[in-house]
């Protein structure tokens, strides 16, 4: 285990590595979001790497509440869906989580628990 450097502590509040999400991938997702997106500054993916982290944390915490209400210790997809439906600012995700089970085909379909 290595120690996070001074730089990473300053920028990311103690987590190892300056950004926990790959900037190039974020940039790709931004570019693919619409034809309107022309140029993206270097900082924008960096802001998103933090914003996504906060978003994932919030949605995860809310989903976990659903998991506990169902008296389980393993978070399931339906818990994430319930948290989305339950939260106003996540309205933009409602269609995504309700269509998800029908339409998403993933390469690997062995369910595993972490």
């Amino acid at each position: 285990m290595r120690q996070p450097g001074a730089y990473s502590k300053l920028v990311s509040g103690g987590k190892s590595g300056p950004h926990s999400l790959p900037l190039a991938r974020i940039k790709k997702i931004m570019k693919n979001s619409s034809d309107e997106v022309k140029m993206i500054s270097g900082e924008a993916p960096i802001v998103f790497s933090k914003a996504c982290e906060l978003f994932i944390e919030e949605l995860t915490k809310r989903a976990w509440i659903m998991t506990l209400q169902a008296k389980r210790r393993t978070m399931q997809k339906e818990d994430v869906a319930s948290a989305v439906i339950d939260t106003d600012i996540f309205d933009f995700l409602v269609n995504l989580v309700s269509h998800d089970s029908a339409n998403t085909v993933r390469e690997s379909d062995q369910p595993q628990e972490s």
Binding site: P22, I29, F48, L54, L93, L96, P111
Partner: protein
């Protein structure tokens, strides 16, 4: 020998990977915010991946619309912060502004976009890579560390 169906399904897999954040990173963020004994199903992580990409697209759409109205070509960090505030993610906007300010402090003018440059793609990647690698060599190895 690779037949057509194999080739096209591996292309699909690549496209799929490109539109989502890596499941390892997403899973790690989820794990870190939950109690130690919490478990997360693979499907829940996959759903979170989808939601995160949709989040990026949603916020980017708002930010780029602002740029269009103001006749600016480049979506910058402030635009993203503004869009987050507008879309109801005010809580994030606050701590993100601080994050962005600290980043700008460290990077100085390097952090700002080299705007309207034909080789923008290359410049941005170099910019980000130098940010990652220049200040602390150790950070580069971080990508190898998978929980």
């Amino acid at each position: 020998m690779v037949d057509n169906s194999e080739a096209s399904s591996s292309k699909d897999m690549i496209k799929e990977q490109e539109r989502l954040l890596p499941i390892a990173n997403v899973g790690r963020i989820m794990k870190q915010i939950l109690p130690q004994n919490a478990k997360i199903s693979k499907e829940a992580k996959e759903t979170m991946q989808e939601c995160a990409s949709e989040f990026i697209a949603f916020v980017t759409g708002e930010a780029s619309e602002k740029c269009r109205k103001e006749r600016r070509k480049t979506v910058n960090g402030d635009d993203v912060c503004w869009a987050l505030g507008t879309l109801g993610f005010d809580e994030y906007a606050g701590s993100l502004k601080r994050y962005l300010d600290r980043y700008r402090e460290i990077e100085g003018d390097r952090g700002q976009n080299r705007v309207n440059n034909n080789s923008e793609e290359n410049n941005l990647e170099e910019n980000n890579n130098s940010l990652l690698y220049r200040n602390n060599r150790v950070e580069r190895e971080r990508d190898d560390f998978v929980v």
